[in-house]
Symmetry: C2
Subunit: 382 residues, 2 copies
């Protein structure tokens, strides 16, 4: 990766980050592997950003085909309609930056075989994780729970993203097994749009989307990924975006000791043990001393997120809501989460699984079952 300042060098403006003291070692990105699951309006743009940043290896997952109805989001072109999203993306990305090793997986990860193939694809031939980060850019609850399970099994860090069905808000969330809440610890949080949700549900399953909201969420996701991978700035654990008011709540979400996924509990115990071990204490003390020295030398020294194991909830810009003043989301037993901070809301009823939700939907006598199932699918497709 040349840092020569000439018009013909595609990396000159990236290597400048190093010269300017933003990133200590930019070139490390060449040795890194990122998996992007879901190549829709967020995933495809995230993949393009990583490709243009000179990532070493990019794994792409989707089983869908490009449609003309996707043209209101960035990346895919009309002449790619009918191609699989993974084929179309590989075609475009290879043309943009042939230095990036691309791997495509055209299968549904939520099926039984898909689950196994997905997990295997994240590991080397000896079964050890080979991926530095997984980015979830899927549009449904089942796929997110699949990624959560695979990443818990592998101890794999991942970042979740979502865009609301009304196209005007979105979020990103960092999930590090045992260290942060996993996706099953608490009901998924989304930014409150203030739009009457009954309007959405009544109108059926065609979600709205905008290239702006999806491009912004992809940008925030990859920016957070770059900060995590290249150790600069502060990695934000949860960042919401509400476009109607330009509101960007941030917060941490603690792991839930009573998480329904027992593997999450085991990862929490391991993380606590790592934190309590003499080596970890010594390392933390050394890191703290180094951070202090760096802070003294420079007001805004890059912060390495991996060093901070402090599992606590901080509702940064989002004030805890008045009702109860409960802000330590995830600290309570599953099924009884507190009120989310102001401006955020749960995307599903608290403590209810997708299966229970389906069962409830069937019990509702006001509408027929098919309507309710499609409402539920719409609800699960942020």
């Amino acid at each position: 990766m040349s840092d020569e300042v000439v018009d013909s060098n595609p990396y000159s403006r990236l290597m400048a980050l190093q010269r300017m003291g933003i990133v200590h070692d930019y070139e490390r990105i060449r040795s890194m592997t990122v998996a992007v699951v879901g190549m829709g309006g967020v995933g495809s743009v995230a993949a393009e950003m990583l490709t243009r940043c000179g990532l070493g290896r990019l794994l792409m997952y989707d089983y869908d085909k490009v449609e003309l109805a996707n043209m209101n989001r960035l990346f895919f072109r009309p002449e790619q309609a009918g191609m699989t999203k993974t084929d179309a993306a590989a075609q475009t990305l290879a043309g943009i930056n042939p230095d990036v090793a691309l791997e495509s997986f055209t299968s549904n990860i939520t099926t039984l075989e898909g689950f196994d193939a997905f997990k295997a694809s994240l590991c080397d031939s000896e079964g050890a994780p080979r991926v530095d980060l997984v980015l979830s850019c899927v549009d449904n609850y089942e796929a997110r729970m699949t990624i959560n399970q695979v990443c818990l099994e592998l101890g794999q860090a991942w970042m979740e993203s979502g865009v609301s069905e009304d196209a005007v808000s979105g979020h990103i969330q960092v999930i590090i097994p045992g260290v942060t809440a996993c996706f099953a610890c608490v009901p998924p949080l989304v930014v409150a749009s203030g739009i009457d949700e009954r309007t959405l549900k009544r109108e059926g399953v065609c979600a709205a989307s905008l290239p702006t909201t999806m491009g912004i969420v992809a940008g925030l996701l990859v920016q957070n990924a770059l900060k995590h991978l290249l150790c600069f700035g502060q990695v934000t654990r949860y960042l919401g975006y509400s476009s109607l008011k330009d509101f960007f709540p941030t917060m941490d979400i603690r792991p839930n000791p009573g998480c329904a996924n027992t593997l999450c509990g085991r990862r929490q115990t391991e993380a606590a043990a790592r934190e309590a071990s003499p080596e970890a204490r010594a390392a933390a003390a050394a890191a703290a001393a180094a951070a202090e020295a760096a802070a003294a030398a420079e007001a805004e020294a890059p912060v390495h997120d991996d060093n901070s194991w402090g599992i606590e909830v901080v509702a940064d810009q989002a004030e805890p809501s008045g009702s109860g003043g409960e802000s330590n989301i995830g600290a309570r037993a599953r099924g009884k989460p507190g009120a989310p901070p102001e401006g955020l809301q749960y995307s599903m009823p608290a403590g209810v699984t997708a299966e229970e939700l389906r069962a409830q939907a069937v019990e509702d006598s006001e509408s027929n079952i098919e309507d309710l199932m499609s409402q539920l699918d719409a609800l699960n497709k942020p």
Copy 2:
């Protein structure tokens, strides 16, 4: 613009915004014209977003050519290296959405002829403005001052954008002649990066850039443009973005009664007269009553920015800095602006023109003139 929910309809997901009550009349976008000045890392992505949104007419301005060194940002492809940015953009955008009427202007707007041609291009054959909004995506102070002057002369609303030289922060700003501060009212505000600026200046003129930051700023800019054009949500007058801490300060900037640009003063007088006229008062009262009724009916009724002529400074998420507690930026005479709100800083010394800055630079005896000139150019290239 069909709202049919089929895979072959590129507008189905946009028309869904209307069905969901986010936008009252989405199809109005087909009758609208937007000018994007500067087709770099922000402008090209903004143009693509507008094209995919189904804009009626897009005017594009740039005099530069595509280089391989631009490949670390979205949009342009390696095989377009050597083409003018306007030609390359027109080629790509026409392929994406042939419904959008594209006009390219390949000239430098800061030259004398360029200025006249730019102004003429924004008007119809009778000299009346034909553009709904101008988006500034340029990378230097002179071009911004040119756009400011032309828009003051035409009474044309525009939005300014910028990305910092260290690639980790950016901003957008709405400028409505007489109603908000113009670009000459107060020194341009940027988000404080906390990085030692001397590092940047010492290293010369190769600015860093990232596809993430530029994509996010383009997304925020076009999102704000859509809210302004299609009258939904709240149009944010100034929105900053600091990626290192995910900090998004917002504020209003009042027009400066002592603005060095006398035309700005005249526009301020006109705006005040409009506000004070019986018709305007009646319209404002009617709008207020309607807004109240809408608010009662729906908690989050779309807000039409054009109805709010209240010129006042509100430092939303950005608290006024402690020193002086001065928050009404622009209310004082030019040359003596107060301290900017916390997290923001002036991109140039307060109340100093570019010419004065150049003169000062020449007087500085520690470096040679050429070095200082390139430092200055670097400073002016956010």
